[in-house]
Symmetry: C2
Subunit: 724 residues, 2 copies
Amino acid sequence: MVDYGYLAVGGAAVALVYAIYLVFAVRKQDPGNPKMVEIATAVRQGADAFLNREYKVIAPIAAAIAILIFFFIDLPLGTHGATAIGFLVGAVLSALAGYVGMAMTVRTSSRTAQAARKGLGSALTLAYKGGGVMGMAVVGFGLLGVSLFYLAFEKTIVSTPAIIAGLGFGASLIAMFMRVSGGIYTKAADVGADLVGKTEANIPEDDPRNPAVIADNVGDNVGDCAGMGADVYESFVVTSIAALILAALITSGALSSSSFGSLTTLITSNQLLVYPLLLGASGIIGSVLGGFYIRKSIKKNPMGSLNIALIISGIIAVIIDAVISDFLFKGSLLGWYLFSSAVVGIIVVVVIERVADYFTSYNYKPVKFIAEASQTGPATNFLAGFSTGLQSTAPSAVVLVLAILVSYFLGYYAAPSTLAASSKVLIGVYSTAIATMAELSLTGVIMSIDSFGPITDNANGIVEMAGLEESVREVTDELDAVGNTTKATTKAFAVMSAALAAVAIFFAFQDEANNIISKNNLFSKYGLAAGGSLTFALGDPRVIIGLFIGSLLPFFFSSFLIQAVGRAAIKMVNEVRRQFREIPGIMEGTAKPDYAKCVDISTTAAIRELAKPALLAVVTPLVVGFVLGPLALGGLLIGSVVSGVFLAFMMTNGGAAWDNAKKYIELGNYGGKKSEPHKAAVMGDTVGDPFKDTAGPAINSLIKVLNTISIVFISAIVLFALFV
Amino acid sequence: MVDYGYLAVGGAAVALVYAIYLVFAVRKQDPGNPKMVEIATAVRQGADAFLNREYKVIAPIAAAIAILIFFFIDLPLGTHGATAIGFLVGAVLSALAGYVGMAMTVRTSSRTAQAARKGLGSALTLAYKGGGVMGMAVVGFGLLGVSLFYLAFEKTIVSTPAIIAGLGFGASLIAMFMRVSGGIYTKAADVGADLVGKTEANIPEDDPRNPAVIADNVGDNVGDCAGMGADVYESFVVTSIAALILAALITSGALSSSSFGSLTTLITSNQLLVYPLLLGASGIIGSVLGGFYIRKSIKKNPMGSLNIALIISGIIAVIIDAVISDFLFKGSLLGWYLFSSAVVGIIVVVVIERVADYFTSYNYKPVKFIAEASQTGPATNFLAGFSTGLQSTAPSAVVLVLAILVSYFLGYYAAPSTLAASSKVLIGVYSTAIATMAELSLTGVIMSIDSFGPITDNANGIVEMAGLEESVREVTDELDAVGNTTKATTKAFAVMSAALAAVAIFFAFQDEANNIISKNNLFSKYGLAAGGSLTFALGDPRVIIGLFIGSLLPFFFSSFLIQAVGRAAIKMVNEVRRQFREIPGIMEGTAKPDYAKCVDISTTAAIRELAKPALLAVVTPLVVGFVLGPLALGGLLIGSVVSGVFLAFMMTNGGAAWDNAKKYIELGNYGGKKSEPHKAAVMGDTVGDPFKDTAGPAINSLIKVLNTISIVFISAIVLFALFV
């Protein structure tokens, strides 16, 4: 029988070929006048220099971890280095996804600025194409890595599902590094530039007289592009892996029992493993086709055009999903129930998009409330923004809980009634993973839409710095506002997937722990009757302690990131103040500020401040696992998700709401630009910056790192845990 | 055999008699000149009026709930109305504890102001005595209610432990009402007064020209005194109840099995039930004796004196605990292990006091970092304060986790080795409850120290408004700064006890759910084998969904409170601005501001904004329980604690840190009063206000309400849950 896994590779190839096509389509556009090219080149060089420096720091760490994994995991398990190889593949592709996306956005921004001179339509199409490179690269590399790994280790995966977690660990570790350092870089620069430039010196954003302006633009690229690219890449990979591991667990169960009835043949021919990969491919096709709408549509309402492109992509993906489900599962009930789960996943994308829009767009009450609160100063603005972020957690939670409930029970009741309850539960959770996979299959279009933000943000900067006409600025400004909303959506999208994937991964973790106990006859060590299994019950204080520690992590982790941004921003503010004071002629435009000094402050801070949060994420699960045992570690995994997801929603939605409250005032409400309420709103935006672009999205990576490292090390933990 | 429960009643009587003695001791002090009396009277009347109005709103709600409990819980269970009676007793005593404490603090403040004219020593002693009334009333009413209830329903408690939860539900529901409304009242007034007065009009705090000044002082009393009193009262009650329920579960186990060996006689004579009550009494004796130190000590270093009083109280309590443990448990291993757990609880008090001190006092790095960050404006101040709050969660978590681990294993290994593992677990959790009880036994001294804050805050206000000498202001200012730190400690103390008690209560909940299943033969409804029991396993999606919903609640709940404060503060700011604008002569002191209007804004907001968060806390667990079943509800209970405790630490520590960063600048650092950094720090303090005095401490009440309502309704939930 043909292995349908090759179809998934084909899907990945479509994404990558389309990405290459887009690269050429973008590169042949006019990059603008020499001044614009000069600025864009400076930004590109700064971004490249930062990534090079960062990769040099990360590479030896990754190599060391790969060696550790090889000796302590692969050798004992006899898995021929698969986990270590997976780790390296995941890590390299993660770095590459970020790099490629960023390489393209830095090259698209000056061209978008130039296109904006021709009007909104040209700029929109070009920015979407540039973002499309990122989107397609992310999803293409993601699907390619997972599919090839699946084809290479198909049999081993079914017998030892945990080996594939190495791929996820590599992807999420590098993504976390890039998210954290990129987030610190961009917000140190942004906050520093805004506080002195906008609030004290009363010069506009992106004004070339501001010494931090180049650092700010570099930051948009290394944070919002490279960081976001690596982050969403790992979301895609980790979700695929969660689905694959669950599929492998069910498949090995089917191989060893006959209670699957008529489904046995289907399951044992690895259909469950291939299914999530093909869903990923279907989303790619949907994303490519949906994207064509952008070029055909009327360009009056950019947000509306993007929304329609998303919906078209979703509908196409659903149709292909239906075909795949019918074909793979031969029209069985199981196939159609799983297909329904996939539809749930697609619906989640649309609904969280609405929720994020409601809480972050100035067309609705929450943002208007923040703007109104700005009239009484920064303090009430802060409180209003903070409480809006808190409030947004509730509808997000409802979506999350419903998605889990519905997709789980679809799987549970799709299982043959002859099956043991534990196998039904497993199929239920697999079904949840399928919903998550369907959600993430739309990564291509979501990322294309998202990359709007940084591209137009940079285009905006180039327009301002190159002194282009005011009408051009209006075009890029409008696109920038659209970008703000789409960025909030993508973060909600990533966080939601982290929560859903974590549930699936916990099951894989639990199953793997019990497998190791059973294989090594460790029942008495774990106080179990022979043949018994660990239940991660809330009635066990170790589980509760794990939950507390896990729940703590996102809080503590965020504190490092926000403090890092605060510290670096203070340095930046002082440096900008110093330059304004000491370099005569800056404000008159007769002397050039020392941009390099500000770039250096951000770069140094971003690299140096990476250590503590990264160590926290890597060391805590290992210490908890090896000291307190797998029960506490299982608690930690779930604890980190249940608090992390709301902290992340609070920060990303709150941050975007603050930003748009400022924009709402800039439209002329409550006194408009340069009024006291506007100053208060700028403060609020500044506070929201590290929330939405540093800490909030990094929590997503944190959760994934905790998940994947735990699965990778679970065999060693079960064997060597001290107090269990 | 004599029932030692009467000894606990005796302990409660000591507290109440001592409180009455303190009342007389305070009342015979000089209340100051007519102007001071006039101001104090205005504040007292405002506070009384508010509480009256609040009680009128609460009373019918409480009555209706009591009737519901009687018909739907007591009648079916055949418990002779014990749950409903308990609910009413808890509710009334909660309201009373708040009222008595507040009645005393409003009467102490003018006397403290007057005493401050004689020097720091007199003021300190008097403020401590006034606070002592509150402390002794809280712990006296708490112990009295629980002990009398125990004596009245001793047998029923052993057979149906859940009936005693009614007492806790009554206490925590009223405490939550008082915490929420008091918190909104006080911070709406405080924020409003500060934003216009300090920041815009540049007049000092408590300046009589500020129209919101009376409302601000009333708020200190209804929020920090009445609210805090009711809150700590319910912490004491709920913790006692958790210990009693676990004791009852173990006792009924001992009655029906012989594997307790030599311990059977001890346990079946209800020693385990009496033990936590006697620990409570020991803390009262310790608190009374420790308090005498305040009068004997040199008055140079008030914080040091209070600390020593606390340590003396702790040592005395430990000594009495040792005697009690030896006597009750006849020198058995169990007795000494449980005593060790009690020592863990006392140590927790001392350690969290150090943690809170480190993060909130200006002698250490975190607060200095916030002050430093104020130089670059409100935004960096805000980020620094927020990240400090986040950071403080980590050491708090370490204390919490260690306390659970150590106390649990002390109990687990104290159990006879012949016992089944499930019984050992129960004794382990009982031991955790004992640690919590020992922690809370120091409530008397902790509250006496805490009530410093509002008393000296009010004294400060009276000194300022009555225009007393600057030297008097210096004395009350110094005491106020001390009060800031002690207030942070008390909140950490209450939150820690909530987390510890919640673990114990979850076990009671789990056991009760399984009892009802077993009694009503509902095994098949819950998919259990006959005789099986529900395990609240993370591997069950209903548990995970419950965890998500539970974790959401503190975030969502806080959003209402912060938004309420923000909304009311905006109204207050606008009103104060209006009065400054429209009433000529206010700023010159020739015209009197319209204080009543501001009092009315706070009162109305506090009552009206109570509904949404209160409904959320009461309705969510019932809906989750009746719709998704006990598994989801169990998840909800733990979920609310694991996220709530860190959100609460973040808010209470962060808020106090902001406050003291402002005070640090006022000492002359970074430009001192009226400098730009000071303005930024005032903003930060304003943001921190609702964090530390509204949302943060209310999370504690929220967790307790969720806990107790779930236990009260668990029988009905198990019987009637829809989808289980």
